[in-house]
Amino acid sequence: MQAVHKYLGARPRLTLVLLAALLVILPFVVGAGLGNSWVRVLDFVLLYVLLALGLNIVVGYAGLLDLGYIAFYALGAYLYAWLASPHFGLHLPFWAVLPLGAALAGMFGVLLGAPTLRLRGDYLAIVTLGFGEIIRIFMNNLNAPFNLTNGPQGMNLIDPVSIGGVSLGRSLRVFGFTLPSTYLYYYLFLAATLLVIVIAMRLQDSRIGRAWAALREDEVAAAAMGINTRNVKLLAFAMGATFGGLAGGLFAAFQGFISPESFNLWESILVLCMIVLGGMGNIPGVILGAVLLTVIPEALRYLGDLQRATLGHVVVDPADLRMLLFGVALVAMMLFRPAGLLPSRQRKREFSAQDGVAEQEQADLYDARA
């Protein structure tokens, strides 16, 4: 209950009801106000929130810098495509494939974690980066001698999620309303996101969560406290990867098409940026980061239209501008809010404790006199 109050303020029930109502009507508001293409953006926002929450376990909670996180997303997506597309002629239902994809990704998480147990910081980052690229390159080349991934062409006609005979891949008519596919997926993704948020919150406050925090702060001391650092590290990799695999499966079903291109290094870095920007280790911060870094690039597309309308032609390609603004935003963040937009309790205090340094010197003096 403590966690609920931490995030929802003094009147949690009211806040919760309002928040739920907002999330339910959000696609209709967005669809009516900005057009249905924005509901699709909303779907991607939720996928990235899932990814960011998963990576946050590895990076934010356990302090293990993972630059190959997108590989787990890829594994979840490819497993979904293998088991639910014409590629192998298999069409298993989503409720069977999604957990399998998440489990496969979790297994690979352990596989990545095991040989990197002794690595830290930059060294770990390099190895995980390599791992991410290896998975992508495998996907790119495993079309011969046996066609497993269909190479760079990717895999097509992946089955949409179908719940109780209702396919989410087509518009649904209920009570005279027509709900497009993107709306239906929104609710599925929302359910998955809420599930993952609850799990992430419970993990943070659990014994495991405390062990992760200790590991992040000082590995030797953590081991001396009786924490099995090896298992706890592997668990962080596995949990993070599992969420990534789940998001990957949802992504494959939603898009109906996947190719190695969707899983490049840039995506890993993007998800990491979401965490850093939003506030590492803090769930609302991570969600905010994912929302901003998905929505802002989409919004910038309008700059192209704006230029065409005012200047007659496109002077600056919004795609280029996106990267530039992205860089500026991150530099500004590091200067003005180094702990993130919504920092975790610890990081907020750590950074605000800069003036605490003077205080500490004072304390040292006091020590000397006491």
Binding site: A214, V220, A224, M225, G226, Q346, R349, D367, A368, A370
Partner: protein, 235 residues
């Protein structure tokens, strides 16, 4: 029978032999110190006992062989290490640090009692329980590290250079506390460069030099030993 008994302990890093086969004992309820100059192999000895380095030789704790056990398993047997440089969890609060010390315990009532005792022993920590441990002064951090180790109700407390980097008066305070903890019956193995202080609180002592034990005996005898006085006590 001694609580900790070490036979032929060797610790090497790469090709460098830091500890060259030493024997020592710590009996239940004793405060034993291991003194010696910088680089004599004192910290490596503790690391060897705690499974943090790759030791050779025999380490028996309450009759159980520690050899090849991982650090967390050794900690679960009842050895608590206050590492060199304190090893506090800087971005956790004082209270959370103490809580981590009791990680392996699940007797809530006992943990609560030990927590009150820790705050009694270190009133400064009680004042600062909500503060991030990284913002504490050096002396307070050392207190926190010791208090945290005690939260595991260890059968043997290993202290690695508790005086390091602290102001002289703070060092005195830390040593008063160590003596108080020993009086309560906690067995302590203390590693210290500051021989003067260490000999004053200990019952027995071992002197280490270049990875070997060169002298041992009652702390009071060693404190008056002319060789020790010349080498470590500045006479």
């Amino acid at each position: 029978m001694s609580l900790l008994s070490v036979r032929g302990l060797k610790v090497a890093y790469g090709g460098i032999q830091a500890v060259r086969g030493i024997d020592f004992e710590v009996a239940e309820g004793e405060l034993v110190c291991l003194i010696g100059a910088n680089g004599a192999g004192k910290s490596s000895t503790l690391k060897g006992v705690m499974g943090l380095a790759h030791p050779h030789g025999e380490v028996l704790f309450a009759g159980e062989r520690l050899h090849k056990l991982p650090t967390h398993a050794i900690a679960c047997l009842g050895l608590a290490l206050v590492p060199e440089g304190r090893g506090i969890f800087g971005r956790l609060t004082v209270a959370e640090n103490l809580d981590m010390g009791a990680y392996t315990r699940n007797d809530k009532v006992g943990v609560q009692a030990d927590l009150s005792r820790a705050y009694e022993l270190f009133p400064r920590l009680a004042e600062r329980r909500g503060q991030l441990a990284g913002t504490l002064s050096g002396g307070e951090q050392q207190m926190l590290a010791i208090a945290r180790a005690l939260m595991g109700r260890p059968r043997l407390l290993l202290l690695d250079e508790p005086s390091m980097g602290l102001a002289p008066l703070m060092v005195m305070k830390i040593y008063e506390t160590i003596a108080a903890i020993a009086r309560e019956g906690v067995t302590i193995l203390l590693v210290e460069q500051n021989a003067n202080l260490a000999l004053r609180v200990s019952q027995r002592a071992y002197v280490m030099e270049s990875g070997a034990i060169t002298l041992s005996g009652a702390a009071s005898d060693l404190a008056s030993d002319s060789q020790v006085r010349a080498a470590y006590l500045g006479d």
